[in-house]
Symmetry: C2
């Protein structure tokens, strides 16, 4: 997992005056955006939740929109990274698709609040529309993998490729609505279950 | 499809003074709730969209919350009706489960805005919490069907019944995010595709 921290931290002398780093601010902001909605969340509320002042937040970012952009970038960056890994770029399309589905489930579980924020976007601002555009590019990359897997004969061909991709990601994305980390269902078991149900269905073979 | 109209319409003499019936008001209100969010939608905005006055809306309902309650009741009522039909109550559990999945897809498509509203609820008020409770009861009924279908040997038993139900409904519910009525994918074809992918998976058998 990467964090969006970095450029504006670092000086040791700052530790006393800046107890909360950007990663912590982003965590709190993302949780609040998910709970109250982005519009309804004020910088004052974020400061209160962090137990700090608004100026301590402005030390890291220039605006609330900046926080939204960084939070969405985190979710999108992780998803895009899955596509760049060797498992997603070499081998049979079927294996690459399974790798990407598994990787997407992992990102979703590891960065649950961030992906939740991404999936609930409506495109109300330039920042949101830009994020939706990146998400569409990710979806298209997966759709191309589905096409390739169909062409090689690994996937059923009686269902439209677009519908297949949407049902597949509908199932995966729904995880943000019910999965609770730390429960009896481990991330690895969840990924296994998703792969099993998505590729082979719920019926007994 | 039932409508929530009835009790307060009817007198022929009213036609001139009441051009919009409750069904039309509910359609407009549900669309606005989905577009702007329930909190952000005022009765004034609804009146404007209907090209009428607020008092014309208050002729049908006593409050905005009343509209929300009626809209949610329509989606829930239709879903609950699926469970009461003969296909859902008699025969093998596997066939009953498929009947309910197909019926849920149809309700979702036929009442898309209403089900969208239901699925996006957060439980911010008594009306929302009551609707969520009814939705949970529906989900539990489906979960019991999944259990029965596993017990009779129709469904795979290597995945937790709860996870199976959630992935199944994650796939179905995601339809509200991408399906557009009137496009090339007909409701019947969509229902067939959902049944195929959910029960048999996307992999070539």
């Amino acid at each position: 997992m990467t964090s969006a921290t970095g450029e504006r931290r670092g000086g040791n002398g700052r530790a006393g005056r800046d107890p909360y780093d950007l990663a912590a601010v982003l965590d709190i902001a993302t949780a609040a955006f998910n709970e109250f909605g982005y519009e309804a969340t004020s910088m004052g509320v974020l400061a209160e939740r962090l137990g700090t002042s608004k100026s301590a937040i402005y030390y890291h970012v220039t605006s609330k929109e900046d926080l939204l952009r960084l939070a969405l970038d985190r979710a999108l960056g992780e998803l895009e990274r899955v596509l760049e890994q060797e498992g997603a770029t070499t081998g049979k399309a079927d294996a690459r698709l399974r790798f990407v589905v598994r990787g997407a489930v992992r990102v979703l579980v590891d960065d649950l609040p961030y992906v939740t924020l991404l999936l609930r976007l409506r495109g109300n601002s330039a920042v949101e529309r830009e994020a939706l555009e990146r998400r569409r590019e990710f979806d298209h990359a997966v759709a191309r993998l589905v096409d390739e897997a169909r062409d090689e004969g690994s996937l059923r061909a009686d269902i439209d490729a677009r519908t297949t991709t949407r049902l597949l990601f509908g199932m995966i994305n729904s995880i943000v609505e019910w999965y609770r980390p730390g429960g009896p269902l481990t991330p690895d078991q969840l990924a296994d279950d998703v792969i099993s149900v998505a590729f082979d269905g719920v019926a007994r073979a």
